[in-house]
């Protein structure tokens, strides 16, 4: 078992501000239990994971192993049965905009335009800013995801891929501390998926928001991540293996595919999944 060992730093300084540690997100002995008529069903048990600032982590594992449960617990949408989750040392107690979520389905309000959907979050988080400033923030991120021509299109008129672009813009626009992505491209065709991966990584390279992403796609996991977490199959799922991806950033898809280590990484992941 190759559990990651983190060197605990007592303090971490950035821009002159002293933070308690370099750890952004800390899952400690996390446990999730669902009561069933036949007794308790333990989904996750004794799960420990620390994610650093500006780190992009992808989580891979078989369907039903509890990846999504874990992510929604981090988001605060699903109560914790045991252990704890903290963001910068503050324990998570319910959902909040410091943890932005990109859902598997775009989850846009279909009666709102693309801009209104992004504004919904921006208005909430930057309530102290002026109306013009808030609009500019929303427009900036829509521009970043390549939707500058579709500000005023109703969400329902956009294609699935376009809708998910709005979802990405909405998540980044509220400037969360942690970005949680729950198989955001799982419902898209492979061409659109590639496009959206490029868009996501381009924005991420600029914003460097700590990201945790669930995926089923081995190539996606390698291309986007600094670290790939492999989860064992449930019940009582935990972290089975961790793979550090040492490609330089910013990376392009071409560089990654041509890198001599790429197939090694890929083999490692597939071996784990086929076990």
């Amino acid at each position: 078992m190759n559990t990651p060992t983190i060197k605990e730093q007592s303090t971490y300084t950035e821009n002159g501000i002293i933070y308690p540690s370099k750890v952004m997100l800390d899952l400690n002995k996390l446990k999730k239990v669902y009561p069933t008529p036949k007794g308790e069903y333990v989904v996750l048990e004794d799960l420990n994971l620390q994610i650093m600032r500006e780190e992009f982590v992808t989580i891979i594992g078989h369907s039903g192993c509890g990846k999504t449960t874990m992510l929604s617990m981090i988001a605060g949408l699903n109560p914790i049965s045991g252990g704890n989750i903290s963001v910068l040392g503050n324990p998570v107690k319910g959902p909040g905009p410091d943890r932005g979520v990109i859902f598997q389905s775009p989850s846009l309000m279909p009666w709102m335009t693309a801009l209104q959907n992004v504004m919904l979050g921006v208005d909430q988080v930057f309530s102290h800013a002026t109306k013009v400033q808030r609009r500019d923030i929303a427009k900036y991120y829509l521009h970043k995801v390549g939707l500058e021509g579709a500000f005023h299109k109703k969400a329902i008129e956009l294609s699935q891929g376009m809708q998910q672009r709005v979802g990405i813009a909405r998540a980044f626009a509220i400037k969360p501390k942690v970005l949680l992505l729950d198989e955001p491209f799982g419902m898209l065709d492979s061409l659109t998926r590639g496009e959206l991966q490029d868009i996501l990584i381009e924005i991420w390279n600029k914003e460097k928001i700590t990201a945790v992403m669930i995926t089923h796609d081995v190539d996606e996991a390698i291309f986007l991540a600094d670290r790939v977490i492999m989860m064992t199959s449930g019940p009582k799922a935990k972290i089975g293996d961790v793979l550090n991806i040492n490609f330089e950033r910013p990376r392009t898809r071409k560089d990654v595919l041509e890198h001599p280590d790429y197939y090694q990484y890929r083999k490692h992941l597939i071996d784990f999944l086929e076990h």
């Binding site: 989850s107 309000m109 279909p110 909430q124």
Partner: protein
């Protein structure tokens, strides 16, 4: 071209898409499929209307003959051969005194329709004349602080329709103002829903007549000392109470069944309660609320006639009842005219609601 496009949109929107083929017919745009389409959308409905009128005509004629035979036979039995011959001659001559009283034929109904219109025009002219005559006097009376003299003549058929529409809209508005807010509250809270559900389930199937009596009990006492039009108040409140249930149930259902994803988005963004309701929950349940309102309006129109009839308040319902009591030569055909008017207005109201429903619905294919 642009104009015809907008025309098409309008007809499509009000749910009369079949008119499209008619307009194509007149602009000479009939393609290969045009003929089949025309057969389907124009010829077939026209044929069904003609068939309906034909059946009605022959049915009315058969009933007329049966009734005439009864009359002749009765005269024969009661007063002998001579009276029977006189009756036969009288019926054949078309004299009004001895016509059999039965289902009127389409022609009679059409004639009654025209006479009702003529009557309306006469009354309107009368009213205008009255207004002119009393204008100077009324101005003086108002200056003196007295009430103006108002026209107190008989209302025409069209006036009755207007009264009915006024009552139904007042009732509909009342239903909307009661059912939508309560529906939202019930939809938002599980506890509230389960605690008042029994009441809704019991009250929902109560007959319009009972509502009327209940409202009558309350309003009668409350309006004892006021000069307000209690018949109107009673009927519109009863209409509102009878018709609000579909809106109440649909609103509660719509609010309670908002997509979980939208609720999660609201949670992640930490929207406040008010914002959550107005920005997420209400817009997403609007289509269901409007489906409820559409049913409410058609129920309101349906029970209105019965309630007016019972509450003695003016309108189409009392028109029908008075004509029935009246028993004049053309009473039956006037009742049939009223029946068609009620049906057509009901249809138009439903179309208006459908149009509004489609405008507020984010999924344009819903409803119909």
């Amino acid at each position: 071209m642009k104009q015809s496009l907008t025309m098409q949109k309008v007809t499509q929107l009000i749910g009369l898409g079949s008119l499209k083929s008619l307009s194509n017919l007149f602009s000479g745009k009939i393609g290969k499929d045009g003929v089949t389409l025309m057969l389907k959308k124009v010829v077939a409905p026209l044929a069904s209307i003609l068939l309906f009128i034909g059946l009605w005509h022959s049915g009315a004629k058969a009933l007329y003959n049966m009734e005439a035979d009864f009359k002749i036979e009765k005269a024969l039995n009661d007063q002998g051969e001579k009276a029977a011959d006189e009756m036969r001659a009288c019926i054949a001559a078309g004299e009004t005194g001895c016509q059999p009283n039965t289902l009127p034929s389409p022609a009679q109904v059409w004639a009654s329709y025209k006479s009702l219109l003529k009557d309306h025009n006469a009354i309107r002219a009368d009213k205008l004349a009255f207004k002119e005559k009393t204008a100077a006097m009324n101005a003086k009376r108002i200056a003196e602080g007295k009430d103006a003299i108002t026209y107190t003549g008989r209302p025409s058929f069209v006036d009755q329709i207007m009264t009915s529409l006024k009552t139904v809209f007042a009732g509909f508005l009342l239903a909307l103002l009661i059912a939508v807010p309560i529906g939202i509250l019930i939809g938002l809270s599980d506890t509230l829903r389960s605690s008042v559900n029994w009441l809704i389930q019991i009250l929902k199937p109560v007959s319009p007549v009972v509502w009327l009596l209940l409202v009558f009990m309350i309003v009668k006492t409350m309006t004892k000392n006021s000069e307000s039009d209690s018949a109107f108040i009673i009927s519109f409140i009863s209409v509102g109470l009878c018709a609000m249930w579909p809106t109440l149930v649909n609103t509660a259902m719509g609010v309670a069944s908002v997509d979980k994803d939208y609720i999660n988005v609201a949670k992640v963004l930490k929207l406040g309660a008010v914002q959550k309701v107005f920005k997420v929950i209400l817009p997403s349940s609007l289509p269901l609320i409007f489906t409820g309102l559409r049913i409410t309006l058609s129920v309101a129109w349906m029970v209105l006639i019965a309630i007016e009839l019972l509450a003695q308040s003016p309108g189409l319902g009392s028109f029908v009842w008075e004509e029935f009591q009246n028993g004049a030569m053309d009473s039956n055909s006037k009742i049939i005219v009223a029946m068609f008017v009620i049906g057509i207005i009901g249809f138009l109201l439903d179309r208006i609601m459908l149009t509004i429903q489609q405008m507020v619905s984010f999924n344009k294919n819903e409803g119909v």
